[in-house]
């Protein structure tokens, strides 16, 4: 009876599923495999080797770009998470009012506006500011990244706040906690998994960005993705594969760490309306 409505029982389900997985993961698998290629070629297999990892590791340009990526991602994610936490509290701990959904849309604007539009706009604005101030450091990239990372940090934090039992905050106030203490001792600890999730998401999104970075960066400010893009325009060696593989490994590690942190934080609190 139940099987009839089960999507897995539909004919062709397995074929579609396999084809989709194939499309998703085969290119990644090939990329990772060729990172271990001993030969110079991207197409011919020359045996297993770590030489391209070593090459990438010793490449000053790669090191510089990786460090820049990390600094930008860490700073932007921090700024974005703080802003997103404040925005999430402001938009959930208030009775609904006219214009609230407009505010949601406004906060999530970077998700809707085509990235290339933002990139061009920032290029124009920042070039003006560069002329006026003479400053051309990483600040522009950090500001740009923080801006488009906010919605990614905002969404999990808001979801967490919405699933939180408001009575807990009332209880804290009832037990003599001032609004600030209630926030620090009750709301913030309960919000932590959402904040961690938001930070991780913002970090990964920043790390991954090409379009806005490409437009905003000054000379010598390549991040890892823009460096890779630049390399592909010239001679392609499996060094690119090695960098991409390292990148992939880092993302997997981040997501795994996040998963475990989140599970540990959420599990002790299934009761009392806390469903996140």
């Amino acid at each position: 009876m139940a099987r009839r409505f089960d999507v897995r029982a539909q004919s062709g389900f397995a074929t579609v599923a396999l084809f989709t997985f194939f499309l998703l993961y085969l290119p990644v698998a090939v990329l990772v495999a060729y990172a271990f290629n001993a030969s110079e070629s991207m197409t011919a297999w020359g045996g297993v080797s770590l030489r391209w990892f070593a090459a990438a590791w010793q490449n000053d340009a790669v090191q510089g770009a990786a460090w820049r990526s990390f600094v930008i991602a860490a700073s932007a994610a921090t700024i974005a998470t703080i802003a997103a936490t404040m925005a999430a509290i402001a938009t959930t701990r208030t009775p609904p009012y006219r214009g609230l959904s407009f505010k949601y849309a406004f906060i999530n604007q970077p998700l809707m506006v085509p990235e290339i539009v933002t990139a061009v706009a920032l290029l124009i604005v920042f070039s003006r500011i560069k002329v006026w101030t003479g400053y051309s450091g990483l600040g522009y990239l950090i500001a740009a990244h923080a801006a488009f990372c906010i919605p990614f940090a905002y969404l999990p934090i808001r979801a967490r706040l919405e699933s939180m039992d408001l009575t807990l905050e009332s209880a804290a106030a009832d037990l003599y906690a001032t609004p600030w203490l209630a926030f620090r001792r009750v709301t913030l600890p309960l919000l932590q998994p959402g904040i961690v999730a938001g930070y991780m998401l913002a970090f990964v999104i920043s790390l991954d960005d090409v379009v806005i970075t490409e437009f905003v960066k000054s000379g010598g400010q390549d991040t890892l993705p823009t460096y890779m893009l630049g390399q592909i325009r010239r001679s392609v060696t499996p060094e690119i594969n090695a960098i991409a593989t390292a990148f992939l490994a880092l993302s997997v590690v981040l997501v795994t760490v996040f998963f475990f942190i989140n599970r540990r934080r959420t599990e002790p609190q299934p009761a009392y309306g806390d469903k996140a």
């Binding site: 209880a171 009832d174 037990l175 003599y176 600890p189 299934p270």
Partner: protein
């Protein structure tokens, strides 16, 4: 009255409206009530009657549109909840899920900045009071609903509030546990000497636990009194109907004297009924009779209401007799079961005799 030391909480002319203009909903309408020191006071009423709103106003989660709330003579109506020496036991318990049982109980004391040693001692004492010492280091999801209830109580009592507010705290418990907790709550109130203001929609709970109770409906307080006063002398039709089972009889007041009146019922019988306090109604009136204050007898007696016994419902402790009166209305008689089967059988003509002074005149 505010200077009276024996008054713990006084609500004066409280009106609370939610929303604005024509859409405004009046949750409380000019409510005044007085709760005495060390009293177990209950706000009883159906859902939506405003009892929880009144409690939230005392706690400070809402602010009155008009009126004053005096705590030991001082108006606290505009103070935020964290400035009121009043604590709440929430319906959902609202235990902090990221803290242990002991940390939950310590929370209020820590917020008050009490010394560490004092807090620790107080937490131990409170956990002993609610018999939860052995579970002090449990997480709140590792305890049962009844235990969570106890922790919520300990947490609210730990800062030694002047008044403890309880918002239907027993409604989530099963019947047996609820009965146990009713006795426990009463014991804790005696031991701590704290004034309890308890909100419930369960009339039985209200009658068993309260020193005094207020019956509320549609944002107003209809009657305040001891459980006995409320049950035996309901002030109006709503109170009589809401609390316990009741028979309503229509009649005419013939003569009224000191606290009682002769009422000639439409059924042709005259009986002596108690008048509501302060009221001397005349003319058409309603009389209420509790089922256990009436006695069933064989047909022939001339002083009672005659009818036909329609149905007998046996319920362990007592038996209910449904009597169809000559007027067509149904009259309920309840008799304690002692031994043997009832003398009357369904279908037989019977006479219902109402005990002297048991009938109560109520306002409509």
């Amino acid at each position: 009255m505010a200077e009276d030391k024996s008054v713990a909480v006084e609500a004066r002319g409280i009106t609370k409206s939610f929303g604005q203009g024509v859409a405004a909903l009046r949750a409380l309408d000019n409510v005044s009530v007085l709760v005495r020191e060390n009293e177990f006071f209950t706000l009883l009423g159906p859902s939506g009657c405003g009892k929880t709103t009144l409690l939230r106003l005392i706690a400070g989660f809402e602010f009155p549109t008009y009126g004053a709330i005096l705590l030991h003579g001082q108006d606290i109506a505009r103070l935020p909840p964290f400035r009121r020496p009043v604590n709440t036991v929430f319906q959902s318990y609202a235990l902090f899920p990221h803290l242990t049982v002991a940390q939950n109980v310590a929370f209020g004391l820590q917020m008050l900045g009490r010394p560490r040693a004092e807090t620790a001692a107080r937490v131990t004492a409170m956990l002993r009071l609610v018999q939860m010492e052995t579970l002090a280091n449990r997480r709140t999801d590792q305890i049962s609903g009844g235990q969570a209830q106890r922790v919520a109580l300990a947490r609210a009592l730990a800062p030694a509030p002047k008044v403890l507010l309880l918002d239907e705290p027993l409604s989530a418990l099963d019947y047996k546990l609820r009965k146990e907790m009713q006795i426990e709550l009463k014991r804790m109130q005696n031991e701590t000497g704290v004034t309890f203001i308890f909100v419930t929609h369960d009339q039985e709970e209200a009658l068993t636990m309260s020193d005094r109770l207020a019956v509320m409906s549609a944002g107003r307080i209809l009657q305040v009194g001891t459980p006995r006063e409320i049950y035996e002398h309901p002030a109006d039709r709503f109170v009589a109907n809401f609390i316990g089972e009741t028979n309503f009889l229509q009649g005419e007041i013939q003569a009224s004297g000191e606290g009682s009146a002769e009422v000639r019922l439409d059924l042709g019988v005259t009986l002596k009924a108690t008048l509501p306090r302060g009221g001397l109604p005349r003319g058409r009136t309603t009389v209420v009779v509790r089922p256990e204050h009436a006695v069933l007898g064989p047909a022939g007696a001339d002083t009672g209401l005659s009818g036909i016994l329609e149905n007998i419902v046996y319920s362990g402790v007592d038996t209910q007799f449904h009597v169809r009166l000559a007027s067509g209305g149904l009259f309920l008689v309840r008799a304690q079961n002692s031994h043997g089967a009832p003398a009357q059988l369904p279908g037989e003509p019977v006479v219902v005799t109402i005990q002297d002074g048991a009938a109560q005149v109520v306002g409509d």
